[in-house]
Symmetry: C2
Subunit: 116 residues, 2 copies
Amino acid sequence: MASDICECNAVHQDVIEFARANMPEEETLYDLAELFKVFGDTTRVKILCALFESEMCVCDISLLLNMTQSSISHQLRVLKNAKLVKNRKEGKSVYYSLNDDHIKHIFEQGLDHVRE
Amino acid sequence: MASDICECNAVHQDVIEFARANMPEEETLYDLAELFKVFGDTTRVKILCALFESEMCVCDISLLLNMTQSSISHQLRVLKNAKLVKNRKEGKSVYYSLNDDHIKHIFEQGLDHVRE
DNA sequence: TGAACATATGAATAAGTATTCATATGTTCA
DNA sequence: TGAACATATGAATACTTATTCATATGTTCA
């Protein structure tokens, strides 16, 4: 799996060591990638954007996004597992809302990049 | 593909319409998800974190992350296509560096969520 | 209680993708 | 020029995952 040593590795040894010393822990980087993976799906991005405005129940999101109740429910579970949304039950309905203040900031930064 | 209309849709009609009116365009949301998809891989996250410190050539990154030159090269192409990194050639080596100021902010916000 | 409603979920399928392997491209230097 | 070096890339494989379909769970109300 590891690559062979190149000649420049020796020359850049200090740069490599510095980077190695300053990188977050393996587990942290894994969790970070997992978080972005959750953001990396159009359906979930749409759901989160919808919830920026207000809490919504599952069937409302389904109608808004013109997708099946099942697919929305599956994706809401992913979002909940990532602790990005929370829910409350009221009668037959389940209302979902955002559970993290960082999401909006992250989306705004992302939109800045996309719109450039 | 579309879900059936639920009873609560009629009740929440104003909420749905408001959300629909305030959501970014379909294409923008697609691009946003595509951007996060690029962030949603451990290898690419590691590469970007490494480049936070300084520019690095391909074989240095390979050594740092203990991965093959080929896999790093493939992922650098993904990052370059997303306009997240740029490169310059110097002799036999190709040096990669960050190409976007938003990345650091996005990562910091992400790390805040992950570390909670 | 039973029927309609709202949501959740397991299994299956289809589509996407990260890595590996082999090899091509391009550079430097003796 | 030729050999070693550094990187890029196409094809194949293994793995992940989003959606669909069918159905289960749980709630309300007549």
